[in-house]
């Protein structure tokens, strides 16, 4: 392991991979972005150049050709445990043995994928929240075998790239904020399903009391209703009552209402009602 993280390989050039690469580059460190899709990489290049013009970054679609001498590998492929295992195992064969590996995951416990890295003591979960600009938290979730030194290096690295490290004491589904957020979403959906209150009323109650500019259903539109359905389905395995939440989200997803990204979810975009000046009147 190397204490001073200078060269970072970001694996996956999607939405999160791009943001992470930009955040790191803005703080003067070197980044290589890898994706198996050349098309994704071209898109990512364009996006990244909107935010940073520096040359301390490179892309590669051929994992064998990666400059294997790096300090940290940040895996950001989609939330599929099989795919993450495959990608980590492949990376282990080409990247130097002393590089720290982390997975950006919101659902998967690090112990479930650690052995595929070939370096479990140098591995943990490392969770970025989107959008990543401004004051933002990164959750560092070690598993039982993660070396305490790795946690130290990642804590320091997180600060170096301008973010707030939050170290969990042990593995736990959904970290801290997402665990709390899930319980907010569950209760909000329950109030609507029980016909105690409408969607807008729930958001008004939340916004009026907290002073936040968005309520639970506005947040769900931001997260994506398809993503909310996916996460709720995973959690429903432990609590079958949650399948009513899955069914609630499914109606929207089947109608193509995925939230901000599809132009409509619980609200219509780009001018959702909750941003109206008089929403709380």
């Amino acid at each position: 392991m190397r204490g001073n993280v200078q060269k970072i390989l970001v694996v996956g050039a999607g939405h999160m991979g791009q943001q992470i690469a930009v955040q790191i580059m803005k703080h003067g460190l070197n980044v290589i972005v890898h994706d198996i899709s050349q098309a994704n990489l071209e898109l990512a290049k364009k996006k990244i150049h909107e935010f940073v013009s520096e040359l301390n970054f490179n892309v590669t679609s051929e994992i064998k050709s990666i400059d294997t001498d790096c300090d940290l590998v940040i895996e950001t492929v989609i939330e599929n445990i099989k795919l993450k295992r495959e990608v980590l195992a492949k990376l282990n064969t080409v990247v130097n043995k002393d590089a720290i590996f982390v997975s950006n995951t919101s659902d998967i416990l690090p112990s479930k994928i650690a052995k595929y890295t070939g370096r479990p003591e140098l591995f943990c979960a490392y969770h970025f929240h989107s959008p990543l600009y401004g004051a933002n938290i990164v959750d560092i979730m070690p598993h039982r075998r993660t070396s305490p030194d790795v946690v130290k290096v990642l804590t320091s690295f997180t600060r170096t790239i301008g973010l707030i490290p939050l170290v969990l004491k042990k593995e736990s589904p959904a970290y801290i904020y997402n665990a709390i957020l899930n319980s907010i979403m569950d209760k909000s959906v329950e109030l609507v399903l029980k016909e105690v209150a409408g969607i807008e009323d729930v958001d008004k109650a939340w916004m009026g009391n907290t002073g936040m500019k968005i309520g639970p259903f506005g947040m769900l539109d931001f997260i994506g209703i398809d993503t909310a359905m996916h996460v709720t389905r995973i959690r429903a395995k432990k609590n079958p009552l949650k399948y009513i939440g899955v069914a609630f989200f499914k109606k929207y997803v089947d109608a193509g209402k995925l939230g901000i990204k599809s132009g409509e979810g619980f609200y219509k975009y780009p001018n959702p009602k909750y941003l109206d000046y008089d929403f709380l009147k």
Copy 2:
């Protein structure tokens, strides 16, 4: 029932009764504040005069002597169902029959006390959130027999006094915001009890992600840990697992750590750590 609410009787001169009286007077309406304790009334008078100098308010400790000709009675005595029933029944004997009665309650369903008012169709729950200044929500929770006209009058009255009315479609414990808040508190306490994260880490995760200036444990200090324990105990009857939450709060309460009001709770006041400039660094 009178559509135009001009004269209001506030019953109970405690923390909430005082704030409610001030809010109404600031908007030019007439208020009488009643409390059985002359000492409470003297304190309330002082407090109220800090905020408003108008003369459109009076106090009375003798319920028989109340100017019974009023449009609206707001009952704000402590959260004890027996006491609320007694007070409402007594008020029914002295107040004109066409006055609307409301109870400021966070826990008690209106159907459980409606018949004691002698005018169930003119009664509902009407819940103020503390502190009451600024943008703030008032929950209007009718029971099955509440007249829709009463809900209309209260909705309009709420706007008149500068607050945001939120009408619930039916009775439900803890309204909207408090129901969501309870689930946040449950999850936050669970994360600490399972030793996933410390108290400050939970607040950091919340504050860093939402942009709010206070986290769940800071909010608990604000609410009062004794109040949180009381509410959790009531809810524990339906979910015995919540007794671990009661036990968690009890340790603080037994140590005299009730939150802001006692000078210490999860944080020390008047300068709690979460207000430090570098709390999120």
